[in-house]
Amino acid sequence: MEGGQGRRYEAISWAFGAALLSLAAVTVLAYYALWLGRSTADDVTRTQQIRATLAQMRQAMIDAETAQRGFLLTGSAEYLQPFDPAVERIGRSMAQAGSLFSTDVQHQRLASFAEDWRELEAELRATIALRRQQRSTQAAEIVSGDRGKERMDRLRALLDEMDAFAQAQLAQREQRNRAVSNFALVSIGLGSLLAFGTSIGAYAALRRELAQRLAAQRTADALNLELQRSNRELQDFAYVASHDLQEPLRKIQAFGDRLVSKYADALGAEGRDYLQRMQSSATRMRRLINDLLEYSRVTTKARPFDNISLTQVAADAISDLEARIHEAGATVEIGPLPDVRGDMLQIRQLFQNLIGNAIKFRRADAPPHVRVSAELDGEQVVLSFADNGIGFDEKYLDRIFTPFQRLHARSEYEGTGMGLAICRRVVERHGGSIDAHSTPGVGSTFIVRLPIDPRQEETT
């Protein structure tokens, strides 16, 4: 990935990261604000309950005292009736307050209240008992005593304190909640904006990137189309050119034959010699044109790759070379060969050229022997074509794979110098390589490396 692309990818990743982060933050804050709202509501409810409870206690106290006073005055049991329920109510309320209070201060106040109330209750009961016993005067004395009044004031004060405290606590909580809520609102707002902003930014960046990719793809497609068209044109041109180029050559050969057969005597030995040279030139030119066509066809007439059995390909190649093998008394040995992916016709051509060469460039004193073997090397197949022919000086290694380059005079060995060039082109089209080792007078080994599963090549 080039620098520019890399940076763009990074930018998009950052933008998305920021957007997600903002969203996460906003979500967390929103949940927190909601939770806060609910807990505030709970606080309010609890404070209301506390106040109600305290009010109940206050009222119950009054009821108890009123009952006591009434009874003291009238001696009538009717007035006394509300006393016990009131006491009981106070007891329950104290318990309830105890469960509602959450601070030590409030609990302490409640404990003080409970203590004072116990005393008050005892006093009330005492006076009631006295009145029952018709000892009103003594009862009245207790009632009019200051201690009672003080106690009552303390109790009322405690109730007021507890009430005020609860209210104050609530107010405090509400204020804090409001502050936090405001903060949350603002943060959520900003966070949302940020999330929106970065999302839109990321989207814009992505769209731009996509547009660029699409444009690049279109260009690639257009170029590909152009290439295909160009290939087709080239192929048509090559075919027509070779066809039309060969026409005159055919005539030269044919009329040359006529001359030789009809006017051999009139020509004389020298004349016949000249004619023969002309004809062999024409023949050579035809072969050259064919080979050139073959060379260009490696890429222009390339077929898509398929699974091929090298053993089968080798057998086909040998069968095509049957006549020459027989004529040279050659032996061809094919070892076990794997399957590869490739263009079958081209690989067959490769085998034909290499085995054919091994037979052609044979030593005079030894019948040609060719051994084809294969080895697996990672993702590649390494094919060896070993012969016992005339060999060549390894300093010519580069030349032999170049088009039209030969190491021998035409009179020594026939051929146009294209065979190995075609081999190299085929091998390279398959994404492989070709090499050779040789010892002059002993033999040569040609090494072909082919990927087992080559990527499809689209260009020349």
Partner: protein, 148 residues
């Protein structure tokens, strides 16, 4: 079985003067009894067969017993001429042998599809051409029954 001893008219359509010359000589050397005539393109061929224009005089255009037809010719090529001949009930009985330099699968396929009787690629050497003319001559003229 009728033995044909009179020379059969062989009509060759080829635009190439050299090829015409070579065939003439090859046919002569093959010693097959024949009366070889030439036309140079598809239009002339049809003119001959339909006896019109330059070939209006029937004496100048005796009905051929065999047509040797090249594919690549100017004005009207062999493919077109073949199609027309084999579509015409008056003409389609005449055996047509395609003689061409083309070796394209497409041409071979289409020629037989149109109804050509044989497809032959022009040989490279003169010797082979003579052999071909001999074979053609013996086969189409001596062995094969040609409709009247």
């Amino acid at each position: 079985m009728t033995t044909k001893r009179q020379p059969v008219v062989i009509l060759m359509a080829d635009d190439d003067a050299d090829d015409r010359l070579l065939c003439q000589q090859a046919l002569a050397e093959s010693r097959v009894l024949n009366d070889l005539r030439f036309v140079e393109d598809g239009e002339q061929l049809l003119d001959y067969l339909y006896r019109r224009n330059a070939f209006a005089d029937p004496a100048s255009s005796p009905r051929p017993g065999l047509i040797l037809l090249d594919l690549n010719m100017p004005r009207m090529d062999g493919r077109e001429a073949l199609r027309i001949i084999k579509a015409d009930p008056m003409l389609r009985k005449i055996p047509v042998v395609i003689m061409t330099t083309s070796q394209a699968e497409e041409d071979i396929d289409r020629s037989y599809d149109y109804g050509a009787n044989s497809f032959v690629t022009k040989p490279v050497t003169f010797e082979r051409l003579v052999e071909l003319m001999q074979t053609l001559g013996r086969y189409w003229v001596e062995f094969v029954e040609i409709p009247g």
